[in-house]
Symmetry: C2
Subunit: 336 residues, 2 copies
Amino acid sequence: MQDLEADLVYCFKDAIKFAKKGQFDSFLAIGGGSVIDTAKAANLYLCHPENDFLDFVNAPIGKGMPVNRAVKPLIAIPTTAGTGSETTGVSIFDYEPLKAKTGIANRAIRPMLGIVDPLHTLHMSPRLTANSGYDVLCHAIESYTAIPFQMRDARPLNPNLRPAYQGSNPVSDVWSKHALGIVAKYLKRSIEDSSDLEARSNMHLASVYAGVGFGNAGVHLCHGMSYPISGLVKSYRAQDYDVQHSLVPHGLSVVMTSPAVFRFTAPACPDRHLEAAKILALVLITGLKALGYITDDIPALVKGTLPQHRVTKLAPAGNPGEEELARLFEESMTVY
Amino acid sequence: MQDLEADLVYCFKDAIKFAKKGQFDSFLAIGGGSVIDTAKAANLYLCHPENDFLDFVNAPIGKGMPVNRAVKPLIAIPTTAGTGSETTGVSIFDYEPLKAKTGIANRAIRPMLGIVDPLHTLHMSPRLTANSGYDVLCHAIESYTAIPFQMRDARPLNPNLRPAYQGSNPVSDVWSKHALGIVAKYLKRSIEDSSDLEARSNMHLASVYAGVGFGNAGVHLCHGMSYPISGLVKSYRAQDYDVQHSLVPHGLSVVMTSPAVFRFTAPACPDRHLEAAKILALVLITGLKALGYITDDIPALVKGTLPQHRVTKLAPAGNPGEEELARLFEESMTVY
């Protein structure tokens, strides 16, 4: 599964080619976020054979075109407790030309059904459990602190042109807060004892809950900044991941900037950040420097974050510019 | 709106007759639970002209037949913050022959859209706000303490034969707990100051949240016992309700037995009751005696509760028999 993260855009294109050749009438995705996201893309382009790959990719990297046609049924069975991809209309991949992840975000590609069986998470190593749990944590806090839906800049009258990420709202808040409470109670337990079925079950549900929340409200800067962190990885080898190449696992790349990000966004809605702050102290372990980044990398990291409008525009403190992003990355070099 | 509560079954039949005559292609319900529930029934029977009224009414009072045909679109605009009817497939009415409320419960009759505008709740008197808020409180606690979905007796393989109320489950829990938290924070404020838009808005949302929770999980004994309490009303006149007949408002009839009920159900799942208990202390004010019931009424109250299987079977302490119900009503005579 993690092998897919290497050059995901190529896997995407292979999967799309394979789907078009097979003309399948349904899709079954069993795996982590990369697997489910690949199936979403294969499904989308199978049903839109006349479109170029970049047509549906998020602007400004792609054209962000609306999807007007129904896709085939996709059933997703997640085997990690992090991504929430089984609940969302988001599909993320490495875009090699920019050395950053980007994606497709459209409610049309959301799976028809997710089968969430906690026995599928017992295989996860402590490190994989932690990293995917960090993703859940950030999904929950970012969606809970994302700018409110009524404050967003772009609210097109045509609903088909509205972004999948619409900002925090009274429905997403329910899911995000509930997920956060479960993370606080069960994340540590789920890491410490891989046979703790209660903890693993709850974290699996938390990934679903947070998925429904952020799939609707969106995430913001931790995710936006994580894409170049993952894309620009140098020699860092993820512990306990069975891959032959350098890799910063998604959850780790997301959680790394979270203290800096939430210090930046907190003044915009202090109440919501205060609720989240108690939980955050529980899970932070290191900094970007420990992942092999140096100060000289910051300009490239900033450059990789700037086009992530889909998420950066949801930051409650305003869409940060180059200087602010550079400062956030600098502050994330050593977290503690 | 409250006038409808007098002899609701006749209003139901009038509305059904009117709908059949008009052959409408859609429905718009603006009001409290009675209004929305009436529109649901009119819609259902308009689309099933060959069926008798009792065909779809809950067993054992009616036949509880499955609904196999689509109904017309119904848009619901709630003007109270209690019922949650805009979110559910439940329609409740007074069934005169039994002097008890009963209803139709089928996901087919759920409104297509609810428009939840808190400005519609500013007209509510403090008493109406309290009573409808009690309903939200009990929706939240009852659905959170309802027996878990996997413990229910009847789990027919044919999904069309499964009850609308399926027992507490990981999705309903999210909504019920969230609603409970809002009730704890805003119910008192919403009663004390009718111009407190923040409190009224939050209680309006809480009624929606609790509605999604209980519409899915179900309610149990407080609701099951409330139906004969309302049906057997003698001379009690509800304060601040503009009606010319005796009436125990729904929320009041529900909350009145809640201490006795939750003492009865607590040993079955103490953790969930302990969470709810802190909130319950906030809102109880009196007992059944103050509403005009005496000990001699208990047999009739019990008799009116016994056929409410749809909800009583979800009680986590087991479906109580005559003696247990009598004791619960006795304990509810004087709450404090």
